[in-house]
């Protein structure tokens, strides 16, 4: 039986979404009040969804692990948010945005979903502007745009280097308004620990109150996960340190298929590892590549200071290899090119694991002030962390784990394979294929939350209007709670010697070395072996102090690490299965003579969706074949 029915509407690409909206079921206002929806996560996806569902009249319960919804990691997005407004009159359109995403994703995303994401993009900008989001403006008072990695039009809206924060505060303000009205109820400082499934449908969650340690049951007619990505699998990444895979993993164990887990974007421009205690890698917005030029010395192991290396002894390797796009090639291409140079011995810095990003020419041409106006806060941030001044000396950068294209499998309505369980934002897999283009995640997360889920969830809930309030006394809640408690007890009983964080760090290293920017069969198999060994050690030598009935950050960390082991193995399994290179997934066995990624459309033009069986059985692969009716599948070239 094929579990995967993507429910893509018929008809021409440009009409699918409007036709679908017009034909799906609606819930009348009187019934909405009686229907409860749980939204977990308050990033652009979750906060926008919760606010919009609240406005529609549903009864919404909202959860996040931070102390307030305004701190979801969307807050950290710097560069911008795309929309097909064509305000610059440079030939942009919904179709072009769609096409760029399909191509950028290396033809591994669903046409219909991507087109819809492009289609609703314009509404997002209007919505945020109306909410008072201070996007950058031109002197005439109209909105400004900039161009962003991987495309040739200027369609990126931005608010200095804080676009994510400003958009999130927009969504948060809408959510706050609904909380004030009583349609949304906020439960912050909660960790989702399980999804409760009753008669095959998602009917609630089990959460831990992080202040009191209490295990809580919450029931609802539908559950929406907006819990973000799992890039922290590498320990060091551009994500917030508490970002985690637990919600998605728990949903997966409860029957939601997990799609393309190994599609993880490594961002090319991050501050490199500077010391052994480092706990995260800070992103330097890719907008810097608009003016900065990337280079390494032409001579191997050249130890001179960058400014002492004359022009003709520098290798601007991106400009050399990709003359058409130069420094603006997509992220996966830029990351791999940096790795290639460093592996070949041309890297700079003590570790040899970094390359230069140089603003000398841009400052010469445009003046320091112009550069400061564009990137001032980023330069400041760099200096605070790295201790050198980028106006005077090139930045050092290196790729870092950043974004997960993979995630819970969803159909066109954004529903997972568990009826009533939805996944939106970075938590799902749907719109970016094997690689995400810059500024298109904020667009997709906000689009999912504001303009997709409010419609599509109605199609499911229309059949639930006779379902009474979900009782949390049901045996399924009881069983879920018991399981959660026994897991916590088990973790606490180990009473070994090592804190959870140290396991996370070691797991991250295994993942980076074996399932990072480049993968091969031997390495992946070795990776799985090492993960298994580390997992065993975790379950025999973990140390948690304190008790479970209080604020206990060691319990929080340990639970997350326990879940990371599962997803880490699944990433390796997926990467092993996909013997082609595509987008961010680079299998060393599948490359051209020039070292470019070699896709294999004949055998791998599908979404790999994995089904969890049990702890001792390998996960089962389901394939959703991808068809391209509206674009011609080509070799992705940025030469």
């Amino acid at each position: 039986m094929n579990k995967l029915n993507s429910k893509i509407p018929d008809g021409p690409l440009a009409e699918k979404w409007s036709k679908h909206k017009a034909s799906i079921k609606l819930v009348n206002p009187a019934n909405k009040k009686r229907l409860e929806i749980i939204v977990v996560g308050t990033g652009l996806a979750g906060a926008s969804a919760a606010a919009s569902l609240g406005e529609l009249g549903y009864n919404v319960k909202v959860f996040c692990y931070q102390d307030t919804p305004r701190r979801a990691h969307s807050v950290a997005a710097q560069g911008g948010i795309n929309a097909a407004k064509n305000y610059k009159n440079d030939g942009d359109s919904v179709y072009r945005l769609f096409y760029d995403m399909i191509k950028g994703g290396d033809y591994r995303a669903r046409e219909a979903n991507v087109y819809r994401a492009a289609e609703v993009s314009n509404n997002i900008i209007d919505q945020y502007t109306a909410q008072g989001v201070p996007f950058a403006r031109e002197y005439g008072g109209l909105l400004d745009n900039r161009s962003f990695g991987g495309v040739q039009v200027s369609r990126t809206f931005y608010a200095k280097g804080q676009t994510g924060q400003q958009c999130l505060l927009g969504s948060y303000s809408a959510l706050s308004r609904q909380i004030n009205k009583g349609t949304c109820t906020m439960y912050s400082r909660r960790d989702l620990l399980d999804i409760v499934v009753v008669d095959g449908k998602a009917r609630g969650i089990i959460a831990r109150n992080l202040i009191t340690g209490e295990i809580e049951r919450h029931g609802a007619h539908a559950v929406v996960l907006a819990t973000g990505g799992y890039g922290t699998i590498y320990y060091m990444s551009t994500l917030a340190v508490n970002s985690n895979a637990s919600a998605a993993w728990k949903a997966h164990k409860k029957g939601a298929l997990f799609a393309n887990p190994s599609f993880i974007q490594i961002h090319p421009t991050c501050i490199p590892v500077l010391n052994d205690y480092q706990s995260k890698l800070t992103l330097m917005s890719e907008s810097l590549r608009n003016d900065g030029r990337i280079w390494v010395p032409k001579e191997k192991g050249d130890k001179r200071l960058p400014n002492d290396i004359p022009e003709e002894e520098r290798d601007y390797y991106l400009e050399r290899r990709y003359p058409a796009f130069g420094n603006l090639v997509p992220r996966d291409v830029a990351s791999r090119a940096a790795k290639e140079r460093c592996d070949a011995g041309y890297g700079v810095g003590d570790t040899g694991l970094s390359v230069y990003l140089d603003f000398k020419d841009a400052i010469k041409k445009q003046g320091k002030e112009a550069i400061e106006a564009k990137y001032g806060n980023l330069f400041e941030m760099y200096e605070k962390i790295a201790g050198t001044n980028p106006y005077e000396r090139p930045m050092r950068i290196y790729p870092a784990g950043h974004y997960t294209m993979g995630g819970l499998w969803v159909d066109y309505n954004l529903m997972t394979t568990v009826p009533g369980l939805y996944a939106i934002g970075e938590a799902n897999f749907s719109d970016h294929g094997a690689n995400r283009l810059g500024a298109s995640s904020l667009m997709q997360t906000a689009g999912d939350g504001y303009f997709v889920i409010p419609y599509t969830i109605g199609d499911y809930l229309a059949d639930e209007i006779r379902t009474p309030k979900i009782s949390t006394d049901l045996p399924e809640f009881e069983a879920s709670e018991k399981e959660v408690l026994s897991q916590i007890d088990k973790l606490m009983a180990i009473n070994g010697t090592q804190p959870a964080k140290s396991f996370h760090k070691r797991l991250g290293k295994i993942m980076w070395d074996h399932a990072g920017m480049a993968r091969n069969e031997e390495g992946l198999k070795e990776g799985i072996k090492l993960i298994n060994e580390l997992e065993k050690e975790f379950w025999t030598d973990l140390k948690i102090t304190g008790t479970k009935d209080e604020l206990n950050q060691e319990i929080e960390k340990a639970g997350r690490v326990a879940d990371f082991f599962g997803i880490a193995k699944l990433i390796c399994q997926d990467a092993l299965n996909r013997k082609e290179s595509c987008g961010a997934h680079f299998r060393e066995e599948s490359q051209t003579e020039g070292g470019e990624a070699k896709r294999d459309d004949e055998n791998y033009s599908y979404v790999a969706a994995w089904e969890y069986i049990d702890e001792n059985t390998a996960q089962k692969l389901h394939k959703e074949e991808l068809t391209f009716d509206f674009v011609e599948v080509k070799v992705r070239s940025y030469k």
């Binding site: 305004r70 924060q165 052994d276 941030m381």
Partner: protein
């Protein structure tokens, strides 16, 4: 580097807290302040002692979650820096560093260095928004806004809701936080419709939640990691006055 940490430990909201001293050796100047605390906690857990609880998430100065009062100053001695952006290179070998939670009646201590800042959410819920439902917005460029006003709005909007202003203020006033939101939204034509009501409701909520009055000492501005200016407070007062006048 070797340092001594003097840290506020408090088991829970009801317990009485106290300072506890911890020596810490092998601190690298390259570490961030929070990485230094990670190292301490790593050591404490291995010894079987409860680690120090502190709030943090993004570790890059944007989420507003970190909130430590270091050597008597909110977010430490560096200006325009959050606790997570602070690096050990600004401290001296052999130094004793005191670390406390935010102190304010409106931000009760939850455990150790963690406080409850829910009051900020409640203030925003009282009016820190423009009432616009999803889907009802018109084309963005149909309402031009001068670049100067948009830039001004951006500066106010860059508040990260950390609460350092409250922790620093001798009156525990939340005026800088409230005024930043009020003036951000008042800069836009669509935000002006509710401007007076917004100011009134947010200020009333602030008073109700136990924040003190603003006596214009300006301490908040000095410690704000995002450089939010006290000019915002003057703007708030104008909006507030006009609301009162029209009552």
């Amino acid at each position: 580097m070797n340092i001594t940490l003097k840290i506020w430990r408090q088991k829970n909201a009801k317990a009485k807290g106290q300072f506890v001293e911890y020596p810490l050796s092998d601190v690298s100047p390259e570490m961030s302040f929070l990485e230094m605390l990670d190292a301490l906690n790593n050591k404490l857990v291995k010894e079987g002692t409860d680690p120090v609880a502190f709030d943090n998430d993004c570790r890059e100065g944007i989420c507003g979650m970190c909130s430590l009062y270091i050597n008597g100053r909110a977010h430490g001695q560096e200006t325009r820096t959050t606790t997570c952006e602070l690096h050990m290179r600004v401290f001296k070998d052999g130094e004793t560093i005191s670390i406390e939670p935010w102190r304010s009646k409106a931000f009760p201590v939850v455990k150790d260095l963690i406080v409850d800042r829910n009051a900020f959410d409640k203030i925003i819920q009282a009016g820190g928004f423009i009432s616009v439902n999803t889907g009802s917005a018109s084309d963005s460029n149909s309402i031009p806004v001068s670049k100067a006003k948009a830039d001004d709005a951006f500066d106010s909007a860059s508040c990260i809701g950390c609460g350092a202003c409250v922790a620093t203020c001798k009156n525990s006033s939340a005026m800088l936080f409230v005024s930043a939101k009020v003036s951000q939204l008042a800069n836009f034509p669509q935000g002006q419709v509710e401007a007076a009501k917004r100011a009134k409701n947010m200020v009333a909520k602030m008073d109700e939640l136990g924040f003190g009055n603003c006596t214009n000492t300006g301490a908040c501005e000095v410690e704000c990691p995002k450089g939010i200016s006290i000019k915002n407070i003057a703007k708030l007062n104008r909006e507030y006055l006009s609301a009162k006048l029209s009552d």
